[in-house]
Symmetry: C2
Subunit: 357 residues, 2 copies
């Protein structure tokens, strides 16, 4: 008890035993369409105790997986009533008396998944949070734990890549796709992107090449020309697939001997079709990746710390930016959720709830 008092006394600014905050949260008590089941609810939060931290949420993105979770179509099932949302960047308001490494004013992002983040304030445990530099922009920080980490891990964990190697991906304009282009550019890896044709294809190609893509092709262009034949780009050792169906089959055809295709999404809702010949004679492998699982299994692993350090450093150096996004006030979540749903597939535009509005 003496020790506790002493600590309280030496760090008075970090404690907030009498703090009273009302959180406005998007909650749901049954699965369904977000516009139907989400309700803006006010809850009085109790002061953070022990290892707890009171966080003022600054921004929280709407990811496709969040929508699927609300719909009940995702393998992660929340306990009802649940606050929706999985990612955020917040500011520490005050901390319980056993919190060791967080101070008021620090920016934090979630280490744990499924915390419920579409809210103005929340009380989390210190070990569920990661402090990151305030120099990391709000949009980048709010979206750091899912898409950039997915891109990072898929580039690191399946084949050994060296500068000059090539990676190919479909859905190259997705949020993960944009992260892949930027990480590849930073690491000297060639990054070939496949996108669906569209009226504004030139602008899209320019945008992705601006991020670091070595080449961007439509699905038709990919089918009709083999850009690896000339030898300017090496055949890819690694492919990322978030589409499935014919697109995945086409992309996998370009893989080099012993190449690996990693599936992390299934936008077309069609399965991946794998020809027997390349499996056997080229030793192509088809794998999958789920960031949520990796994060749980590597919660405190040094690889995870290294990953966050690397990505934050690139952001601070201006070499990594958030995907195209739009900030939306919490009150307008229904419009944002509907818009997020109506975007057919991944167009790279992400809606981020802005709790400061």
């Amino acid at each position: 008890m003496l020790r506790k008092s002493l600590r309280s006394w030496t760090r008075p600014a970090m404690l907030c035993r009498q703090m009273s905050v009302v959180a406005r949260s998007l909650k749901y008590s049954q699965h369904g369409e977000p516009v139907d089941v989400l309700h803006l609810v006010e809850d009085k939060l109790t002061s953070p105790q022990n290892q707890q931290v009171l966080v003022k949420i600054l921004a929280a993105p709407i990811n496709p997986a969040d929508i699927n979770t609300i719909q009940g179509k995702y393998p992660v099932k929340p306990k009802f009533p649940a606050v929706a949302g999985n990612e955020f960047v917040g500011e520490v308001v005050c901390v319980g008396d056993k919190v060791k490494n967080l101070q008021p004013g620090a920016h934090v992002v979630p280490l744990a998944t499924g915390l419920g983040t579409w809210t103005t304030h929340a009380v989390y445990n210190e070990d569920q949070l990661l402090a990151i530099s305030n120099k990391v922009g709000l949009a980048e920080a709010a979206t750091i734990t899912v898409n950039p980490c997915t891109a990072y891990r898929m580039l690191k964990d399946f084949v050994q890549l060296s500068p000059g190697d090539t990676v190919i991906q479909n859905g190259a304009n997705s949020a993960v796709g944009q992260a892949v282009h930027q990480l590849c550019k930073a690491w000297g890896i060639n990054s070939v992107g496949i996108v669906r044709n569209r009226p504004e294809i030139s602008e899209l190609k320019n945008m992705l090449e601006g991020l670091g893509a070595s080449a961007v092709l439509t699905e038709e262009e990919m089918r009709t020309c083999d850009i690896f034949k000339s030898g300017k780009l090496q055949r890819p050792k690694l492919a990322f697939n978030c589409v499935g169906g014919k697109s995945a089959t086409e992309v996998s055809r370009h893989l080099s001997d012993r190449g690996v295709m990693v599936t992390y999404g299934g936008m077309s809702r069609e399965p991946v079709t794998v020809a027997t010949g390349p499996l056997i004679f080229k030793d192509i492998a088809f794998r999958g990746f789920w960031m949520t699982r990796w994060s749980k299994e590597n919660y405190s692993a040094p690889e995870r710390t290294q990953m966050f350090n690397d990505i934050c450093q690139l952001i601070e150096q201006g070499k990594f930016v958030a995907p195209a996004h739009e900030m939306v006030p919490l009150e307008k979540f229904k419009d944002a959720a509907a818009a997020a749903l109506n975007f057919k597939g991944f167009t790279g535009k992400k809606f981020i709830l802005d709790m400061n509005c």
Copy 2:
């Protein structure tokens, strides 16, 4: 020169400088159907020099890949004119003066692939041959390097199996399938086999269970009952697919979390279809295996020696037998090749050319 003379002098029985042998071989000079392009040709063989070994072929099987090679449908392309065939067991007749470890009378099987084995006699290099015990039966020895080794490697190289684990496979009555059942039984691993329904299904199930299968189901039975639900058998960590299409998809559904499906054949000529969900959320992997590649890449590896030792030991202990087979005289190769082709898929019956007839 002195050393050479000394060696010749100390091992006179091994040399055969004046030996003259006429080999009768099945040769082809263009791709096509075996009955059209294979011809029985006589060639006078020169005496083995240096590291060469004159081998009298005792038995050589007709594998599906041999037929495909002759047809030009296999990735291995021989130099014409070529002797057909890839496997054999033979007896050393005599050896060149630099041969170190082979003696006349020794039984040998090929370490190298594509040697051309449908012949009565051949001259090979010592390093292309592996001596095996004369106690290993001719049918077992003649078929040891492809099917049993495929089964062995697929069980060893993709997931770590322990006694009590389960493996599932379609085409469970194929030659590889039969080898899988036997190795699993020897190693305490549960082996579930899927076969197509047929009039003599009971006899087939009995035969495979006799070899060591823990359970044999038809494709319909697999679809309608989940034998892993009761918990008597653990969900398989590993699946082998030589069929493709719906059969592969069905088999892959039974895999445990982090399970691996290894494709080594494509009997149905349909691709493997991989649902996105299990790839991502169950971390199922789809791989391929080609024995020819493994053998080339591990030509002198200790794992290869260990593999042959293990398999030969099981054969000598009566725990591993050749697949159902029929010995056919070399002169009747056309009938055998036609019969091998007409067997729809793998029924487990292998034709073996018997050079002693």
